[in-house]
């Protein structure tokens, strides 16, 4: 297959950036999108040009490193995958494909298609955990958890922290990311102890870091490679309201 690529190039955080066009040919339909970019970069190295920088690591859809906005959609046109699991068979031969980095104030561009997502780490550091020290845990089976709650908690816990939800949202809201963690913890007895403090702290941090608010467009759910449901946002809102009610008492 042959493609024309329109790729966002930006030398650094302060550079204005621009689109550049490249052509790649004889690409196998079974190649992944990132393998297609590898081929492009090999071509650029051959011509003494600077390769396109993009974040990637596990290439099996679980590390959450890849972060490409392809033809106007986070992770491209296929459903429930990250860009590393997107294959060229989902494109038309001869198509022009536009590739951009995540676009959000809270995720500044580092270079080309690489962005800085450390804001997500900061939100987790604000309270996205159970405060239990090593060695002080009771026997794992001492607290039964209903299968339903465990499975639902797992759904939230499956978040890979890629940031597609933020990139998809017109407000660049991190609500789905934050909700997935708050919800996972609130559903489990181990996480309930700190549920209120956690909801307040994480949401405050999200606001502080420049993420927008949720206006219920559900774009995040549609683009989430792990198909995390917006119902977690509803649970987060309940947790947050309860926490506020309590702290105002």
């Amino acid at each position: 297959m042959n493609f024309t690529l329109k790729i966002w190039r930006q030398d650094g955080p302060k550079d204005k950036g621009r689109f550049e066009k490249y052509k790649v040919s004889d690409i196998s339909a079974d190649a992944s999108f990132l393998e297609m970019l590898d081929i492009l970069n090999e071509q650029l190295v051959d011509k003494f040009q600077t390769p396109v920088e993009f974040d990637h690591d596990c290439r099996e859809g679980i590390c959450g490193t890849c972060s490409l906005y392809i033809n106007g959609r986070p992770h491209g046109p296929d459903e429930a995958v990250t860009a590393c699991q997107l294959h060229m068979r989902h494109f038309k031969d001869g198509e022009t494909i536009t590739v951009e980095p995540w676009r959000a104030t809270a995720f500044p561009v580092i270079k080309d298609l690489m962005v800085d997502r450390s804001a997500f780490d900061k939100i987790i550091q604000a309270g996205g955990y159970v405060s239990v020290n090593t060695g002080s845990a009771p026997d794992a089976n001492s607290i039964p958890v209903t299968k339903k709650d465990a499975d639902l908690a797992f759904e939230g816990a499956a978040c890979i922290g890629c940031g597609a939800c933020v990139a998809a949202c017109k407000n660049a809201s991190a609500s789905l990311f934050v909700a997935a963690k708050i919800s996972q913890m609130a559903l489990l007895p181990q996480g309930k102890v700190e549920a209120k403090e956690r909801a307040e702290a994480m949401i405050a941090k999200m606001d502080e870091l420049g993420f927008g608010n949720c206006s219920n467009t559900y774009a995040c759910e549609a683009e989430c490679p792990k198909e995390i449901s917006v119902s977690h946002i509803a649970r987060m809102n309940r947790e947050f309201l309860n926490a506020k009610k309590d702290s105002e008492k």
Partner: protein, 645 residues
């Protein structure tokens, strides 16, 4: 010759760890604040260690190569984590997990370490559950288990096919908690490019900031490396793209011995290679062998027709299928250990029974399981894996059998460590896949997560503290010290040398060629002639690389080509040591199969008389490395021929 002191504590095996802890040195809380620990790597071992050190009150600096500690490659582990909880009442015990692990490792692991690992396994599950790790549960609310290769009990805890992710996020949560408390400072997008030695001890690191390209110096009282394995020496593996051996290799060159480099694990169930543009291989979890049955056609004609697309696997009746694992190993069947399953797949494909367009694939079939349990049950157990397969191969494994083939997955070898996980460099501790301990010549499935977390949560907090108990009067070291200056200079010069070559070929060009040599000659099946050939080919390739590699861009900038170049340069040295170790070990043990040493049926033949030892290699500048032996003694397990028949 340096003598390898494994420092195994006194007493019966079940009391050794307790004896160690009863007598070890401790540091009081005020002094802990004055002591600094560097942790490199934030996978299961690194993140859990850093969090636990922080909780104890030490000052911790932790580094990762990724943009966030949550993305370390432990995240990709699928199937599960072993623990001797015996929740299933099926006869499991600490001893049995210990026994299975030593046997699975083909009697090439250190008994005392493995026993401690089995002992600590139960605490890991408690810790993870307390952190909110959502393991699979039964309807009654208790934890569910499944079986993995090399065991006759169900002791594997799991969270769908994302167990590594969930455990890593648990450890990442603990790490985040400590970062928030201020006990741990986190540095991401940093790559360790050298170890700084002061008076013969590890006292710091040189990091390259992967965003600015600048070199940075960090000092501490001790350095813990949890930097993963070296499977990417093969280019194609299930490792992440950025997984590399550079940190370990630098430590080796500073005096840390490298143990058993030839012990690599080729995992039997990966999606087969489909093109030369391919960048990595994807694992299909071993847990699938709980319900999937592995087969190839009984008749070569059928295999040929399938390869040509004239027949489909579903056209073949039961009688026309050869369930070769069940046939060869009736006791363990499809759940034989990885090395055994991989070799059996290769044997069938080499004999002409392979399927898929290349003939290098076998079937993993869920037809019977779907008939027995229903499609929904299979979806609950393996849904994400089936989805992943479908996305990659564009074929529905609910309808037609999966095609799989072995691929490089894990390295049992690594930096040599004693019982305390300290390398031959004082003050340098090594944890997780980066060290060689516990798995011998072959790792059992669901044991890597167990080892990483045992090392990080429950071993290092004790042993590192024991080391630091002697350092309470040691002042902090300035990074202006000449040792830092000197080491940084060496790193800078090497980077400049690399970027100034400006040759004809890209880094990947060389990496792929190295990978092909490694896979063909130092892969699943090895022999003297090929290994000698490999050593000479790798030497030539290394020379060519240093004359002809082309790296565009600047040192003082984001430059992933430069990053890769440094790693490949190190793989080109490590690859030779892997081949050398494989050549020297004239026996077949675990993942190391020498064609000269096999039974007429093709089973591996060990040589306990001459090779029941760890081969630990010492770097010698300008000379051949020197091999030291740590003899292995088995007092609590009877050494037998490993049989799964």
């Amino acid at each position: 010759m340096t003598k390898l002191e494994s420092k195994i504590p006194e007493g019966p095996i079940a009391e050794k760890w307790k004896n160690y802890r009863d007598k070890q040195g401790l540091v009081n809380p005020t002094n802990k604040r004055k002591l600094d620990i560097i942790v490199v790597g934030t996978g299961l071992a690194g993140a859990s260690a850093a969090a636990s050190f922080g909780e104890l009150g030490f000052n911790v600096k932790v580094f990762c190569i990724q943009d966030s500690p949550r993305r370390a490659h432990s995240i990709a582990a699928q199937g599960g984590i072993n623990a001797a909880k015996n929740y299933q009442n099926d006869g499991d015990s600490v001893y049995r997990l210990f026994y299975d692990t030593v046997k699975g490792g083909d009697y090439r692991a250190r008994e005392a370490n493995v026993y401690r690992l089995a002992e600590l396994s139960t605490e890991i599950i408690d810790q993870a559950v307390a952190q909110g790790v959502p393991f699979a549960r039964e309807y009654g609310g208790t934890l569910d288990n499944r079986s993995f290769g090399g065991a006759l009990v169900s002791r594997t805890f799991y969270a769908k096919g994302q167990t590594g992710q969930q455990l890593l996020l648990g450890a990442y949560g603990a790490l985040s908690k400590e970062i928030n408390r201020g006990s741990v400072e986190m540095y991401s997008r940093r790559e360790m490019l050298d170890l700084v030695m002061v008076d013969g001890s590890a006292r710091g690191v040189i990091m390259r900031n992967l965003v600015t390209g600048e070199l940075e110096r960090y000092s501490a009282h001790t350095v813990v490396m949890a930097t993963g394995g070296y499977g990417n020496a093969y280019f194609l593996s299930t490792n992440a793209m950025n997984s590399n051996a550079t940190a370990a290799w630098k430590a080796y060159k500073k005096g840390a011995f490298f143990a058993n480099p030839s012990y690599t694990q080729i995992h039997p169930t990966c999606i087969p290679v489909h093109g030369d543009y391919q960048s990595k291989l994807t694992l299909m979890s071993e847990s699938l062998r709980n319900d999937g049955r592995i087969w190839v056609p009984k008749k070569k004609e059928d295999a040929e027709k399938i390869r040509k697309g004239e027949k489909k696997p579903t056209d073949l009746s039961e009688e026309e299928r050869d369930y070769y694992l069940e046939r060869r190993y009736p006791a363990f069947g499809n759940l034989v250990p990885r090395d055994v399953a991989s070799r059996a797949a290769k044997e069938r494909c080499d004999a002409g029974y392979g399927v898929g367009p290349t003939g290098l694939a076998v079937y993993l079939d869920f037809k019977d399981a779907i008939e027995r349990l229903g499609r929904d049950a299979i979806e609950t157990r393996y849904g994400n894996l089936f989805q992943m397969y479908k996305k990659i191969v564009d074929d529905d494994p609910y309808e037609t059998p999966m095609m799989i083939y072995p691929a490089v997955h894990y390295t049992m070898g690594g930096l040599w460590v004693d019982y305390e996980l300290q390398s031959t460099i004082p003050g340098l501790f090594v944890a997780g896949e980066a060290n060689f301990s516990d798995h011998g010549a072959n790792r059992l499935g669901a044991s890597a997560l167990m080892q990483g977390l045992a090392d990080g949560y429950f071993v290092l907090p004790y042993t590192v503290q024991n080391f630091l108990a002697d350092k309470i009067n040691e002042p902090r070291l300035s990074t202006d010290a000449p040792e830092f200056e000197q080491t940084e200079k060496g790193v800078r010069e090497r980077l400049e040398k690399l970027i100034n070559i400006q040759g004809e070929h890209s880094v990947d060009h060389f990496h792929k060629r190295l990978g092909k040599i490694m896979w063909d000659y130092v892969g699943m099946s090895r022999n003297k002639e090929n290994l000698e050939e490999a050593i000479s080919m790798i030497r030539d390739l290394r020379e060519e690389f240093w004359k002809d590699v082309r790296i565009p861009g600047d040192i003082h900038d984001v430059n992933s080509e430069l990053e890769k170049a440094g790693r490949v340069a190190d793989f080109l040295e490590l690859g030779e040591l892997m081949a050398k170790d494989a050549l020297e070990r004239e026996e077949s043990s675990g993942g190391h199969f020498r064609e000269e040493y096999q039974t007429p049926e093709g089973e591996a033949v060990r040589d306990d008389e001459n090779y029941m030892h760890v081969s630990a290699w010492e770097y010698k500048e300008g000379e051949q490395p020197q091999m030291h032996k740590e003899h292995l003694e088995y007092k609590d397990i009877e050494v037998k021929t490993r049989s799964y028949k």
